[in-house]
């Protein structure tokens, strides 16, 4: 079968980027959105075609085989360490392809309506195109360097899009923060790549994942603190993934990133870019699993679990609807990491499949949540939950879709989230009870905070709005409807047939007790939220008041932002950069200037000798004569 057309899937958004970027001012106002949307529409169709052909056309007894659909030389550093750009198709990349193109297409479509009144829409669509291109390039990468390259490009487009309102200082700060934090993580990613590839001798995923061959090729791999260099490399790579996926403690950029336009949050900070870390771990899953008995994978599991609980706790206290969603995203990505972390390989790879499945369904319902939130914000012109309430009357369509998404994320059957979340918890239960228990609690918290915002926004007290809120225009409605439909039905897909750790279909059994338990805690969360927020009351305030210090700490996100800011300001700028700058100006440059000034001083001293006073000259002559007399008489007597 010929797969080479797949190169057009990333290239189409790139074209959109180039056209919108180069013809920045010359393009008619409406056209930029049309170009972007249609490019992504075609790309989405192509990726559905690819998915269909791949999943239904290439199955064999060996499972699905990866396909290198397209390849081009980029830079041959050495004959072995050659870097090629390519398109690599395997189940997870195709799954991501579908996710990215679909969400991106819907977000483009949504943005046509959402951004209709903005100046500089061309810029917006150009950046969206760049982002889609980079994300697709990242997803389709056949080697780690290409992944890293597009990883960085994704970061930049995220930076540009967060900073879209660049004359707003908070947006600029958020953009810089997002870029610098992820960049900081990426440095470790790069070191990890270099370290790991030093032993593997290649950047290609096949070689990287073949850990037995790497160990065979290197007679002795150094061991540092009880772990082999390979494990260290993988953990460093995971740091990069954690940065992009906003895992604790590198999560601080994600809530601030909500300064960007809401569709951007839906695309980048909910559905696609932030799951890149999960995708990266999944890509290198055999290596993670094989190195040092999967120690790196344990780290992934612990970080994921902790982040998921941590974010869920913070999400309960936030008043900004987008920030709640941001923390929810972080929490759900933690879930995915947890799923990967607890997974085994082959027949025990339930966690892997579950994690990928959750990634897939999460993309749908989280994008829906963000787009719904965008519709609300568009209607009430505020992000704060305090300015909302009783919206179900004004925005019935939004209400229903938002409710579906909330049910999906809370794990209520038969919505999509139920299946994937249940699978993760099942995998965690088999692996480690503590992780399972934490995940279980988080599921309850998730249901609670999601319905908290749902009830606060759509129910709660009725209020008078200056502008009567209303359902959005059609171009914004269609994505909501499509995603709502997806949130309902996607859970029924036979994911265990398609996406598995060893590419062969995985047999799973459905545990009724587990499912009941997780649904139970979800329902408890929903009921709590219903009781507290269904009607306006002062009960939530009382509760938060009684918690006092704890509540305040959580509301301030455990003071992580302040901690980072403190480190940046006090340590990096004041303790390192300022002394370096001082040292440079005063010591190093001072030394150079001292040499110069000494010379000048010396010359001034010598200059004074030539005073023009001939009597002093005469004295000089006499002394010289005497000097030579003495010299020749006593020291060089032979002359």
């Amino acid at each position: 079968m010929n797969w080479s057309y797949t190169i057009w899937i990333p290239l189409l958004p790139f074209l959109s980027f180039v056209i919108n970027g180069v013809l920045y001012n010359r393009l008619p106002k409406k056209l930029s959105g049309v170009i972007g949307t249609s490019a992504l529409g075609v790309a989405a169709l192509l990726s559905y075609l690819t998915a269909g052909r791949y999943f239904f056309g290439t199955t064999s007894a060996e499972g699905y085989q990866p396909i290198l659909a397209w390849q081009s030389t980029w830079m041959h550093i050495t004959d072995k360490l050659a870097i090629d750009m390519g398109v690599y198709l395997d189940p997870i990349s195709i799954m991501m392809l579908v996710v990215v193109t679909t969400i991106s297409f819907l977000v483009h479509l949504y943005s046509v309506g959402y951004m209709s009144e903005e100046e500089g829409r061309n810029r917006y669509f150009a950046w969206l195109g760049l982002f889609s291109f980079s994300m697709l390039g990242l997803v389709l990468a056949p080697n780690l360097v290409q992944t890293y390259m597009f990883w960085e490009l994704v970061g930049v487009s995220s930076f540009l899009l967060i900073g879209y309102y660049y004359d707003k200082p908070s947006a600029v700060r958020a953009a810089l923060k997002a870029f610098i934090v992820t960049r900081f993580a990426d440095v470790f990613f790069l070191i990890g790549i270099l370290l790991y590839s030093y032993y593997s001798g290649s950047f290609k995923f096949e070689d990287l994942n073949n850990i037995a061959a790497i160990q065979a090729a290197n007679s002795s791999i150094p061991v540092f603190m009880g772990l082999s260099a390979l494990t260290w490399g993988l953990m460093l790579i995971f740091v990069g993934g954690a940065g992009k996926s906003a895992m604790f403690p590198l999560h601080i950029w994600l809530p601030d990133a909500m300064e960007g336009p809401t569709p951007v949050s839906a695309l980048i900070h909910a559905a696609t870019m932030v799951v890149a870390g999960v995708y990266l771990v999944a890509r290198l899953f055999p290596a993670f699993h094989g190195s040092d008995d999967g120690f790196a994978l344990h780290v992934v599991a612990v970080v994921g679990t902790f982040s998921s609980l941590f974010a869920a706790i913070i999400a309960m206290t936030q008043m900004d609807i987008k920030r709640v969603l941001a923390f929810s995203t972080m929490s759900q990505i933690g879930y995915m990491m947890m799923g990967l972390g607890v997974s085994g390989y082959g027949e025990e790879g339930l966690g892997y499949t579950a994690s990928m499945f959750h990634l897939f369904t999460h993309a749908a319902f989280k994008a829906l949540l963000f787009l719904g939130a965008g519709a609300i914000i568009h209607a009430v012109h505020s992000n704060s939950l305090k300015d909302m309430g009783g919206l179900r009357k004004y925005m019935p369509m939004t209400n229903i879709t938002f409710l579906i998404a909330c049910l999906a994320i809370s794990g209520v059957p038969p919505f999509a989230g139920f299946f994937s979340k249940d699978m993760i918890l099942e995998a965690a239960y088999e692996h480690n009870k503590l992780i399972y228990f934490t995940g279980y609690i988080t599921a309850g918290l998730t249901a609670f905070y999601m319905f908290r915002i749902y009830f606060m926004a759509f129910w709660g007290r009725n209020r008078d709005y200056d502008h009567k809120p209303h359902d959005p225009v059609w171009s914004m409605k269609i994505p909501l409807i499509v995603l709502a439909a997806g949130s309902v039905v996607l859970g029924l897909l036979p994911f265990n047939e398609w996406v598995t750790s060893d590419l062969r279909p995985l047999h799973i059994h459905f545990d009724m007790m587990m499912a009941a338990a997780s649904v139970g805690i979800g329902v408890i969360g929903i009921i709590t939220a219903y009781l507290l927020y269904r009607k306006p009351s002062d009960a939530p305030d009382k509760i938060s008041h009684s918690l006092g210090f704890v509540y305040k700490t959580v509301k301030n996100k455990f003071y992580m932002d302040e901690l980072y800011l403190g480190i940046m300001r006090e340590v990096i700028l004041k303790r390192i950069a300022a002394p370096v700058a001082w040292f440079d100006r005063h010591i190093v440059d001072g030394t150079m200037n001292l040499i110069g000034n000494t010379t000048v001083g010396l010359s001034k001293g010598i200059k004074r000798i030539q005073s023009g006073d001939f009597q002093v000259y005469a004295f000089g002559i006499l002394i010289a004569v005497i000097f030579f007399v003495v010299l020749f008489n006593y020291f060089i007597p032979t002359i």
Binding site: V616, F619, I623, I626, V629, N633
Partner: protein, 188 residues
């Protein structure tokens, strides 16, 4: 013995008068002390039986040069004009130079053994005249001619400089323009 005594007297006069000459605050007195030194020198020549040399010393030095100096003093000073006392810097330099110099040269000629005298010097005036105009071995006719030309050149130079366009130069100097000799002579 008499010669020695006379020599010491003359030496004493020379040293004391030199000292007076270089330290006196009245320029004209200084000149007179210098005259004393020169005359004592002539006396020394006479003492050594070099009468011709002594006579020249008297006529050229004590006569001619002193007259020039006195006239120069008259042209530039009022009689009895007080000389300023030397400043500290020059005093120190002068003392230093004199002391180091005397020490070194004293050390030199006390440690050096001079060759003994070989015979007597033929110092007749006729011998001097013959040698002066003699161009063979030991003859001084060439230096003699050179000195004559030098003297001539000196006279011409003195005249030229003395009559140079000084007022013009002075004006130029004040206005800050370059003061080359060629341009000033051309203007005249």
């Amino acid at each position: 013995m008499t010669e020695r005594i006379i020599f010491y007297i003359l030496a004493f006069i020379m040293i004391v008068f030199s000292l007076m000459s270089v330290t006196s605050t009245k320029i004209i007195r200084s000149a007179i002390y210098l005259l004393g030194v020169l005359m004592a020198t002539a006396g020394l020549y006479f003492l050594f039986n070099l009468n011709f040399l002594g006579a020249i010393q008297l006529t050229v030095y004590a006569g001619g040069i002193m007259v020039l100096i006195v006239i120069a003093i008259l042209l530039t000073h009022h009689v009895g004009f007080g000389l300023p006392v030397p400043d500290k810097k020059h005093m120190i330099l002068g003392w230093l130079a004199a002391m180091i110099g005397i020490t070194i040269s004293f050390f030199q000629f006390t440690t050096h053994t001079f060759k003994p005298k070989i015979g007597n010097l033929d110092d007749r005036v006729s011998k001097m005249g013959a040698d002066m105009l003699h161009y063979g071995d030991g003859g001084f006719v060439l230096p003699f001619e050179v000195i004559s030309i030098l003297l001539l050149a000196g006279i011409i130079a003195a005249i030229t400089i003395a009559k140079g366009g000084i007022p013009h130069l002075k004006k130029r100097l004040k206005s800050g323009q370059p003061t080359t000799v060629s341009s000033s002579t051309k203007k005249q």
